[in-house]
């Protein structure tokens, strides 16, 4: 059974979003990392670039597969997680600590309309 952390928001693409003021951190869930298997490569956008809700902002690759990362929010990338890019297995080890990017959002409604932990849990059990 995969872990779900309370207090975060979740997308149907199995990403988690942490909202702090106008800043969100985005990562992939325990369910996602477990489905992918060993993650061996991560490609993330550069600091300062723009992301748009619904668009791909990077990829995670396991040995056998490539998966796009979709941004649930629009805004400017404040920071990408360089240690995770260098050591992608951190995502397998600590999916909820291994954030991928931090984004400054204009509209926090984009986040609060996402699933909460309970809704995501139900979504995974469907």
């Amino acid at each position: 059974m995969s872990k779900i952390q309370e207090g975060l928001f979740y997308t149907e693409d199995h990403e988690w979003v942490r909202l702090e003021g106008n800043t969100v951190s985005i990562g992939i869930t325990d369910f996602a990392q477990s489905s992918l298997g060993d993650i061996v490569f991560v490609e993330l956008p550069e600091d300062g670039s723009d992301v748009s809700a619904g668009d791909s902002f990077g990829v995670v690759e396991s040995i056998k597969s490539v998966s796009d990362l979709y941004s649930p929010v629009s805004g400017k990338v404040l920071e990408k997680n360089t240690p995770v890019e260098e050591t992608p297995e951190l995502i397998n080890q600590q999916p909820f600590d291994a954030w991928l990017i931090k984004v400054e959002v204009q509209n926090t409604d984009e986040v609060t309309k996402l699933m909460d932990s309970q809704a995501y849990s139900d979504f995974c059990n469907q």
């Binding site: 298997g37 060993d38 061996v40 490569f41 490609e43 396991s62 040995i63």
Partner: protein, 354 residues
């Protein structure tokens, strides 16, 4: 269409295998973890169910003559109980399949073919066998097949009392023991055995391997392992659009033989393509990605993955010989960005086979 299942299906489910469609068969792609499975074969021992592959028999006085006149590789003069790898070509010299033949004696051979080509190969061989005094049978339904691979494969097999003589079995040789055909062959580059036999015996063998804690390995690990040692795969590196001379199999084409199907075409053929080995320092090359030189596409990746041994992206690629300049840099296009590729002359990983 309903997927076919090997007789080991229930055993795979017991081991929590993730099953996928492979050439119309429901096969285990992985059990625990891809990396763990692949490394088990490099370091210890793993076992694969490859019962989906096909087995034909050719029996009769002309068996050897028939196969020698059919295959580009040299069958005539092969010792008894030896195996031989060969492409199978049509009259145009194009590849229909790659296969391994096993010689019991000059009037009895077994042929092991790819699962996806069983019907086509059998039809093709049936047309060719007409003029020869030998009988061709498709016995694929009668056999299950396990590949036990890794440096501890011999130790593992010796524990089962199948016969001490397997210790003396050389690479690409085989023997018969208790209804089993045990060959020192494989598709991983490591030492190991491929064991053909009746279903019930093979199921029992699988169960014994599980008790001995042999790692069950899926097709995912098999693909990484074969690519690390640069073994081509029919359908990817080898296709019916190519001759063996286009894809690194020149060593299997014996043009000094009196005749074989496709010889005339191959004698006059100038290869258009070339198979190359690539590593990249960043990113993972995948099947279908373009290979670029001087801002022009010169070919495509035919197989690519992350090597679990090297922790690096590796690939085989088919390039256009006329466009390729050996001295100029080459790149792999990954998501519209160019990543410099390093051409390798040797296999990415040196397996430990006998």
């Amino acid at each position: 269409m309903t997927l076919l299942r090997t007789r080991l299906y229930e055993e795979h489910i017991k081991q929590n295998a993730k099953m996928v469609d492979f050439a119309g068969w429901e096969m285990p792609i992985q059990y625990s973890n891809l990396k763990q499975e692949a490394l088990a074969v490099r370091e210890k021992v793993g076992v694969f169910d490859v019962s989906h592959m096909g087995e034909f028999f050719v029996e009769g006085p002309d068996a050897e003559k028939f196969l020698d006149n059919l295959l580009p590789n040299k069958v005539q003069g092969l010792s008894d109980y030896k195996a031989l790898y060969s492409p199978l070509c049509n009259e145009e010299g194009k590849m229909l399949d790659d296969l391994i033949i096993y010689k019991f004696n000059s009037s009895k051979f077994m042929i092991c073919v790819n699962a996806s080509n069983i019907d086509n190969d059998f039809n093709w061989l049936s047309k060719q066998v007409n003029d020869y005094d030998c009988k061709l049978t498709n016995q694929s339904q009668q056999f299950s097949l396990l590949a036990l691979q890794g440096p501890k494969a011999e130790d593992t097999l010796l524990k089962l009392n199948i016969g001490e003589q397997i210790k003396d079995l050389q690479y690409y040789c085989f023997q018969e023991a208790n209804d089993l055909l045990i060959a020192r062959t494989g598709y991983t580059g490591e030492d190991g055995f491929e064991i053909f036999g009746p279903h019930q015996k093979i199921i029992e063998l699988w169960q014994q391997f599980m008790e001995l804690e042999v790692e069950p390995c899926g097709l995912g690990a098999r693909d990484i392992l074969r690519l690390e040692v640069c073994f081509p795969l029919y359908g990817q590196e080898l296709t019916k659009e190519l001759t063996p001379l286009d894809c690194g199999l020149k060593w299997t084409v014996k043009l000094d033989k009196e005749n074989f199907v496709g010889k005339t075409a191959l004698e006059n053929y100038q290869p258009k393509y070339q198979l190359i080995k690539l590593t990249v320092d960043k990113g993972i090359p995948r099947i279908g990605y373009e290979i670029i030189q001087n801002e022009e596409s010169i070919g495509k990746v035919t197989s690519g993955t992350m090597s679990v041994v090297l922790n690096q992206g590796i690939a085989l690629g088919l390039i256009d010989k006329n466009k390729y300049c050996p001295k100029e840099k080459i790149y792999v296009k990954i998501r519209n960005r160019l990543f410099e590729a390093n051409r390798q002359t040797k296999a990415f990983v040196q397996g430990g086979h006998k």
